[in-house]
Each structure stands twice: as C-alpha cells, then as structure tokens.
C-alpha cells in the first residue's frame, strides 16, 4: 500500500497574542499531520485555540514559534506576499458568515476566484457540485443562509485547492440546512480529494469525519479515528 501523502506537518506550533502587558497563549506547542483527501473535524470549546490553529495553517496568521509545512513548503517562513500566494493557489476557505460579495451574483462570486486561480474548474461545475446551478443568477441577498453557504463552498473549491478550511460552516444555520451544507462539503471532499478541515462546536458532526481532533487549552488533547463514517442525513442537532 502507498504511503499516504502528508499535506500538513506541524511541529511545536505556538502562538502568543500580546495586548499591552497582557499575554495570551493561544497555542502551546501543537504537533499535527494531515494527509491528502482526509476529512478532519476539529472540536473544542471557545478559546481552545482551534481557530488560531486553522488561521495559521490557512496562511492568515503568523506563528510565534514552531514549524508548519504544507507539502514541501514551510509556511512559517513565508512573508505576507508568500502567504497570499499560498492562499491563492492552494487553500479554499468557508466562513461562518459566508462572506460573499453582496454586489455579485452566485456565479459571479465563484468567478471572482477563477479569475485569479491557476487551474480552476468551470464555475458552473463548482455550483453544480453544491446543487445550486439553477440559482446561479441570484444575488446573495436573494438566497437563503444555507444556499449562501453552498455558494461559499463552490467559491472555495472552484480553484481546485489542495486544502479546504471551514470555520464553523454550519454555525449560523439550522439543523436541516446545516445537513445540506455538510453533504455538500463531503461531496466536494470526495470529488476533489481536497484535504478538508472543519472547525465546529457541534459534536454531532464528528461522526462524518475520518479523524476527529480535539483542542483544549491551546493544545491537541486527543485524536480519534472513525472506522465508519456516517452520512450527514444520519446526524442531527
């Protein structure tokens, strides 16, 4: 059997926020690895460091110390321009509040990314993947929350990213809508093989993942593997 390709390798990652004389240690030495195509759910209470972790491996924030490797590139050594390049070429983001551009339609929001991506898929293909091809001419304000989040997923995966990072993607949605969004994420993960990391407060989602990573007090407090993954329809909250 082939050795699985490690997408992320993280060693001794720390992050300290300074505000005046007060220091807050958000991450205290995190070691982590993720392989290609994995679907990982990150759980943990507020302030446990999970968002900080996602921001650093997503190239949105700089580490205080430690190493983060994406394939053979060390993210912790990159400048702001290097991190921008990394996000542009390799990372898809999905946010809790969708963050769509309100003046652009669904298709145009997706196209916004294809215009700067190296090897994008067709915007329509991405929208079809999340089941929204018939709503593509609608503006965000004309779409429901779940639909907006699916547009955001289409926008995140249209560049064919190696990683898809989702911070509370169902946090603003009710259960039924959330399920549809999770279905879309799993569908995309399966179809594109993008390593998918999903942060959530919602423990019910953990059954969908290959692996579940738990954060507490700025460190990883436990990792468990799911021998059998459930489908989104089987979970509820």
């Amino acid at each position: 059997m082939d050795q699985p390709v490690p997408i992320f390798r993280v060693h001794g990652l720390t992050k300290t926020y300074r505000s005046g004389t007060v220091e807050v240690q958000a991450l205290r030495g995190v070691d982590f690895e993720a392989t290609a195509g994995e679907f990982i759910v990150i759980l943990g209470p507020s302030g446990s460091g999970k968002s900080t972790f996602l921001n650093i491996i997503g190239g949105l924030d700089q580490a205080t110390s430690g190493e983060v490797w994406f394939l053979d590139q060390e993210l912790t050594g990159l400048s702001d321009a290097g991190l921008t390049r990394y996000r542009r070429d390799h990372v898809g983001f999905v946010f809790q509040f969708y963050n769509l551009v309100p003046s652009l339609t669904a298709r145009e929001n997706v196209r916004l990314v294809t215009e700067i991506a190296r090897r994008p898929m067709n915007p329509l293909e991405a929208l079809a993947m999340v089941g929204l091809e018939d709503r593509m001419h609608h503006f965000p304000a004309q779409l429901s929350g779940g639909e907006q989040q699916r547009v955001a997923i289409a926008r995140a995966i249209v560049k064919n990213p190696e990683v898809l990072l989702c911070d509370e993607p169902t946090g603003a949605l009710d259960s039924a809508t959330g399920v549809r969004v999770l279905e879309a994420l799993m569908q995309v993960n399966g179809a594109t093989g993008a390593t998918t990391l999903v942060i959530t407060h919602n423990a019910a989602i953990k059954d969908l993942a290959h692996r579940v990573v738990r954060f507490a007090n700025g460190t990883i407090s436990g990792i468990e593997e799911n021998p059998v993954r459930k489908s989104p329809a089987e979970v509820s909250w």
Partner: protein, 788 residues
C-alpha cells in the same frame, strides 16, 4: 472640572476617532469661510477706504478740461444748478529729464489745491509749495519712491520746451491718482510717470495762463444729476475749447478701482457657495455612513429612553463641531489672506491708509452660512434613523439590494473582470452619492479651469495688441497738434529707422440715444507701424473715408457697419460731422475708432496736421534718440512699447501668480476633501468584502485596486464635467470683467484643461495613498468571526 454627559463624551470621541475625515471636511468649509470673509471683507475694506478717502479729501464728482478760459468763468460754473463747489486749475504734462533714467518720462503738473479746495492732497512728507516762491512742487509718493526723492531734492523738467529746475518740498498722494496711469500706458509705472503739484501762479507763468485755467473740478450738491450738470458745464466751456466734462465713474483712477471691486465681488459670490455645497455633500455622505454603522447603538439609546430629538441633537452636534473647526480655520485664513490682499493693494494703489474692516459682519455671515450648510447636509442622514422605533433600529438593516447594470448586458459583452463589476455596481448602488462625488471633484477641476484660462488669454491679448496691432517701438506724442513738417524732424532723429504720422483727436460719437467719448485716430495710409485687424484677425487698411469702430465701441453705440454715426469733435472748431461706419476692428484695450490720416484731416478741415509719430528704432541708437526727444520742442510724451509691455507683464504675472496659487490650494482642498472621504466611506462599506478577498488569495495591491478603481471612476468621470463647468466659469468671468477700459479674449488651450486635471488627479492620488495603510491593515481574521 466639567462633567460631560455620556453623549457629549461620545461626540468628542467620534471627532477624535474620525479626525482625518473631520479635518478634510472642515478644510473644505474653511475654504468657503475664508473666501467669503476675504471677498466680502476686502470689498468692504476697499469700498470704505475709498469712500472715506474721497470724503476727507473732497474728491470731485465732475471733471472737465479745456484749452483756456478766464478765471471769471468759474463764477458761472459755480452758479450752475446742482454745483456745490468748483475749482479752476491748470493741468499740463511736462517731460522729465531725470539723471537716473535715459528715456524721457512725464510729470503731470497740477495746480496745488487750495486749503479749502477740492481734490485735496494727503501730505506724507514736507510741506506744500510756498505761494511766494517759484519752482517748488509736491510730488506723488510713487514717483518719489521710484527716484528716491525727498523734500529738498531737485529735478529737471521740460516745461513748454524750456528746461526748469523744480525743488521738491513735499511728498503727497491724492484721491485723484490712487491708480496713477501715465499717458499711453496700460499699467501704472511710477518711475516714468509722476504728478507734481505746484502753485497756480507758477504754472500760470510757465504756460502763459495768467488769469486763466484749463481744468475744472466740480463737487455736486447731494442728489444732483451729474448728467444735467455736465450738459450745462459743456455748454459753458464749449467756446473755450472744452473737451467734454466727465462724471466720476469715468475718471481713470476711479474706474480702475471699480473694476477691481467688481472682480472681488465676483469672487465672493461664486467661490463660497461651491465650497459650502461640497461641504454639505461631504457631511451628508460621512454622517450617513456613521449613522448606518451606529444604527444598533441608536436603537439601544432609544431603548434606554433617549428621544429622537436627543439622538438628532447628538449627530447635528457632531456636524456642528466639524463646522466650528472649519469656521475657525476659515476665519484665521480669511483674516490672514485679507491682510495679504491689503498689502497687495497698498503696493498697487496709493491709499493714505487701508481700513481693513474689523466688522464682525462678514465673519458672522460666513459662520452662519457654513453652519447652515452643515446642518442641511446632516438633516436627511439623521432623519432616516432618529425616528425609527428602537426595536427596528437595533436589528440590522435590510440587506442592500444590488442589481445588474442594464440587465447584465454590458458586463457580458465587455467580459469585465468581476472586480470591475463589483466596483461598478457598488458605485451605481448609491447613484446620488456617486454623482455627488463626481460633481465635487468636477468643481475642483472647474475652479482651476476658471482661473488658469487667464494666462493664455492675456498672452493672446498681448500678441494681438503689441505684436500685431501696435508694431512701433515708440510713439512720440506732441503736446499739441503740429504741422506735418514735424514728421520730417522726427525722421531726422538718430536711431529712427521708420516713422509714421498719426493724428488723434478727442471726439464724442453718438448713434441713436447712445454716445461715448473716445479718441479718434487717423493713421498713416500704407503704413506698417499701426495696423487695424478685422474681428477675424486679418489686417485691414485704414479707410479712405468713414470710420472703423472697435467692436466694443460699436456694441456700446449699437452701431453696425453701414450705419451713420455723428462725430462731435471736442477740439478746435468743435465741428459736428456725420460719418459712415465702414468696418469693425478687433481691440481689447479701451474704446477705439480709426480712420486714415488724410480722411481725418479732411474731416477736421485743419490741413495736414499730425499729433503723434510712431517710430521703429535702431536699438543701438536708443539713448541718442531719447536725448533728441528731450530736445524736441512741443514733445508731449514718449511711449515705449517694450517698457509698457514689461510693466504690464510684471504686474499681471504677479497678480495672476498670487491668485493661481490661491486657486490651486482651494482646488486641492476640494479634491482631497471629496476623494479622501469618498475612499474612507467606500472602504468602510466594503472593508469586510475586501478582507474576504484577501483571505481568498487576492494580494494587497489587487484589493487596493478595487477601491482605487472606484475612486478612479469618480475622478475620471469628473474631468469632462469639470472642464465644462470651468469653461462656464471662464465665460462668466470674461463677461463680468469686460469693461470699457479693457476686454479679455477667452482663449482656452489644451493646457487650461490638462493642468487642472493633473492637479486634481494628483490630489486624488494623495488621498488614495492616505487610505492605502488602512487597506493594507484590513483584518482577515476578524471578518471570519463577525457578521456585518
């Protein structure tokens, strides 16, 4: 210690937090206040100074000159209905012979006024000439300064062909010569032209006018009609060579001051409204955004029990605070610029003092108008939120609805990048605001176009007047008309390469009910030194018969080519002739009428007579020529084109330079004020989207480009509109400033549009650079966590 209410604390903190925007708006308001204070204040100051000066020195209201009349005639003039007081005096032009000046200049010799007389002098130094002594004079201040003359200095003049020594006894200024223009000059030149007040007896002896006079000043009974008095005086003076009396409004110095006042008044009427309109727009735009951002806070305040008026008062207070900052800066700037303007006046006009008005009125008016504009800008923004029920205010506003432009067709066909689509739709989502921004920037362009056109236009006037019309190097004008033989004498002078005769006579033209006093010139046939130009700028020969009128004169008379006009000659036998207008000519300075020398001599019936000679000079022999002129009997004055032109250019250059610097500053204030606020608000509205784009992998430059695209669209759209409005300003200025003294051609070259555009685009780039830091600092992490 003062305890501030919570809302007052919030107001102060808002001002501090938004200081850059507050300052940008306050500066636009300050520009409006300053131009208003300056314009109204300076007009008021100049008017009051002139009025006080006139009253204190009993400046006359009617002026008449004649050849020679017995002193006894004065009683008849004083007896005319409407005349309060009249003075008879002697006024003659003498040629100067100054050791520090090669070319001859002129000194206007005037009888020193009696202590109780009209046009009294304001003595600056020394004393008036002693009635018992001969050869004493008080000289005008500018002339004394130009030649470093003091009481006791001596100078040489040529009086009636004889050299005379004059001793300076004092230095004075007079309300009659606030703007002292020498004969044949276009700008005052105190070096070459001065006034010397000597005793009446002294002048009477020198000019053979004992018991006689050649000039009259009249002060009117309050309410008397100048026109009626002038008609009676003209009738009395006609047998004595009267050349037609004029009212004060046509007195040279007074008329030039009037032109200056008209310019100032124009500035104070046009500029402040522009600034205040722009300021009101900026207030509205900024406050609307602030209120949108604070909508939930407003809901909360209302839930706590604050009424709508308290909320409205708070935001109006915020705006009023900006206005107060603007007003204070404007007051200081206006007072400072006013003092600067006063210094310019002091240099240019001879006033004994300058009453720079300390009246609070312009300051109060400026403050009230500015506050009014600010509050007007705030009203709609405040009304939209202060009266919302608290629950509605606390919930987020309905999402902004966007639409495709024209159903999306242009975007499809042009295959526009999505970032461009974003920019276009964001602009068009608030079309009034976008239009306001475009109009604001257009005003900045227009203010500059409206002032920069004058450079090219004045060059054009110079070209037409001094290169294409007046082609001589010098003009020697005789004190009185002389036989044609005088031309041959001039041709014999050293350095004269070419000489052409000319006859100029004072006449009154009338056509229908309109009439004007002008100089009618008879120019040499086949000559080359004085050219007539058609309105299309083609040279034309002087007519064998009939007259050519300058366009301005023809307009004033309502006469066209082919019409007959009546010419009343104001010299010699005062004949009245009917003449045909055979053409119109181009001319920007004064009112002119021209015919050929022979036609004029025929009209006057005086035989071959000339009054001036235009000459082309060999530059190497200039000083010999000057010396010869000084020796010429009957020489009146010499006009040197290069000196006139240099003086004109220097004065214009200085005045225009000052005003251009001021206008550049004002335009920059508008441009930065509009663009910076526009950019800040756009960034505030789109900050979240732009940060999201950064997360998606857009570079800082690409994200800044989206915002800059919006600014660029506003700034570029504003250019043609600004050119258009600016051209309108220029046309209005040309119309407002053209007078019988001068007219300015409107010439707008490409640089008149290009320079303002470059300046305004420069100001826009500066504003863009000022917000760049904020774009670079967009917090990517924050947007992931917060709902708008």
């Amino acid at each position: 210690m003062i305890r501030l209410a919570p809302l007052q604390m919030k107001l102060l903190r808002d001002l501090r937090r938004l200081w850059a925007q507050v300052l940008a708006i306050a500066l636009v308001m300050a520009a409006g206040v300053a131009t208003l204070v300056l314009g109204v204040g300076a007009t008021d100051s100049l008017e009051r100074t002139r009025q006080t000066y006139y009253e204190e020195n009993r400046f006359a209201e009617v002026f008449a000159s004649l050849t020679r009349a017995p002193r006894s005639l004065l009683d008849k003039i004083e007896a005319v209905d409407g005349v309060l007081d009249a003075d008879a005096r002697i006024v003659r032009l003498a040629m100067l012979d100054m050791p520090d000046m090669a070319e001859p200049g002129n000194l206007l010799l005037v009888s020193a006024p009696e202590p109780q007389g009209l046009n009294r002098l304001h003595l600056r130094q020394g004393r008036l000439p002693d009635p018992g002594r001969v050869g004493e004079a008080v000289v005008s201040q500018g002339f004394a300064a130009a030649h470093r003359l003091f009481p006791g200095s001596r100078l040489r003049v040529l009086v009636n062909g004889r050299k005379r020594e004059v001793t300076v006894t004092g230095i004075a200024i007079s309300p009659e010569y606030i703007y002292a223009l020498g004969p044949g000059d276009m700008m005052p030149d105190p070096r070459r032209f001065g006034i010397a007040w000597m005793t009446d007896e002294d002048l009477a002896d020198a000019f053979d006018l004992r018991g006689a006079f050649n000039d009259v000043l009249v002060k009117l009974v309050p309410g008397a009609s100048p026109a009626q008095v002038i008609a009676r005086i003209d009738a009395l003076l006609a047998p004595y060579g009267g050349r037609g009396a004029t009212a004060r409004k046509d007195q040279m110095s007074h008329a030039f001051l009037d032109a200056e006042l008209r310019q100032l008044r124009g500035m104070s009427r046009v500029l402040p409204p522009i600034f205040l309109a722009v300021a009101a727009f900026l207030v509205n735009m900024t406050l609307s955004r602030l209120i949108t951002l604070e909508r939930e806070q407003i809901g909360l305040l209302k839930a706590l029990g604050y009424g709508p008026w308290a909320i409205a008062r708070h935001y109006v207070g915020f705006v009023a605070a900006i206005a107060v900052i603007g007003i204070l800066i404007g007051w200081v700037a206006g007072a400072w610029m006013g003092a600067g303007l006063a210094r310019v006046y002091a240099r240019f006009f001879d006033f004994p003092y300058l009453i720079f008005t300390r009246s609070p009125q312009p300051y109060a008016v400026a403050a009230l108008v500015t506050l009014g504009a600010a509050v007007a800008g705030a009203v709609t923004a405040v009304r939209a939120v202060a009266w919302l029920p608290p629950a509605v205010a606390m919930s987020p506003p309905a999402p902004v609805r966007h639409r495709k432009i024209l159903g999306g067709a242009p975007e499809r066909y042009l295959r526009l990048p999505q970032t461009v689509v974003m920019t276009a739709r964001h602009l068009l989502r608030w079309p009034l605001r976008a239009a306001g921004g475009v109009l604001g920037v257009a005003f900045a362009v227009a203010v500059l176009v409206g002032s920069l056109w004058s450079f090219g236009s004045i060059e054009r006037m110079i070209d037409l007047t001094f290169v294409r019309t007046e082609r001589q190097d010098a003009t020697l004008t005789f004190a009185e008309a002389r036989p044609r033989a005088a031309l041959h004498a001039v041709r014999q002078m050293p350095g004269v390469l070419r000489a052409e005769p000319e006859r100029v006579v004072a006449v009154r033209f009338s056509h229908g009910s309109a009439d004007r006093r002008v100089a009618l010139a008879g120019v040499a046939e086949g000559g080359d030194l004085s050219r007539l130009l058609t309105p299309r700028e083609r040279p034309m020969a002087p007519p064998d018969s009939g007259v050519v009128l300058s366009e301005t004169l023809a307009d004033l008379l309502g006469a066209r080519a082919g019409d007959d006009v009546i010419i009343e000659v104001l010299e010699g036998d005062r004949r009245v002739i009917k003449a045909r207008v055979v053409g119109l000519s181009l001319g920007y300075l004064g009112l002119g009428a021209t015919t050929s020398l022979s036609a004029l001599n025929r009209m006057l019936g005086e035989g071959a007579v000339i009054s001036a000679v235009r000459v082309k000079l060999d530059p190497a022999a200039e000083s010999a020529f000057f010396a010869a002129v000084k020796e010429t009997p009957g020489a009146g004055f010499l006009t040197l084109k290069h000196l006139t032109l240099r003086r004109f250019r220097d004065t214009m250059a200085e005045n225009i330079l000052i005003s251009t610097v001021v206008y550049l500053g004002l335009a920059a204030v508008i441009a930065v004020g509009v663009v910076y606020n526009f950019a800040r608000i756009s960034l505030s509205e789109q900050g979240r989207e732009l940060a999201s784009l950064r997360v998606l992998g857009f570079t800082r430059g690409e994200v800044a480009g989206i915002l800059y695209g919006e600014i660029a669209a506003v700034v570029l759209l504003a250019q043609p509109l600004g050119w258009l409005i600016g051209t309108g300003f220029a046309v209005a200025v040309v119309q407002a400033f053209s007078s019988e003294l001068y007219r300015v051609p409107l010439v707008i070259g490409p640089e008149v549009y290009a320079t303002p555009s470059l300046v305004v685009i420069g100001a826009a780039l500066l504003s863009a650079w000022l917000v760049r830091g904020r774009i670079d600092r967009l917090d990517m992490v924050e947007v992931l966590k917060t709902r708008e």
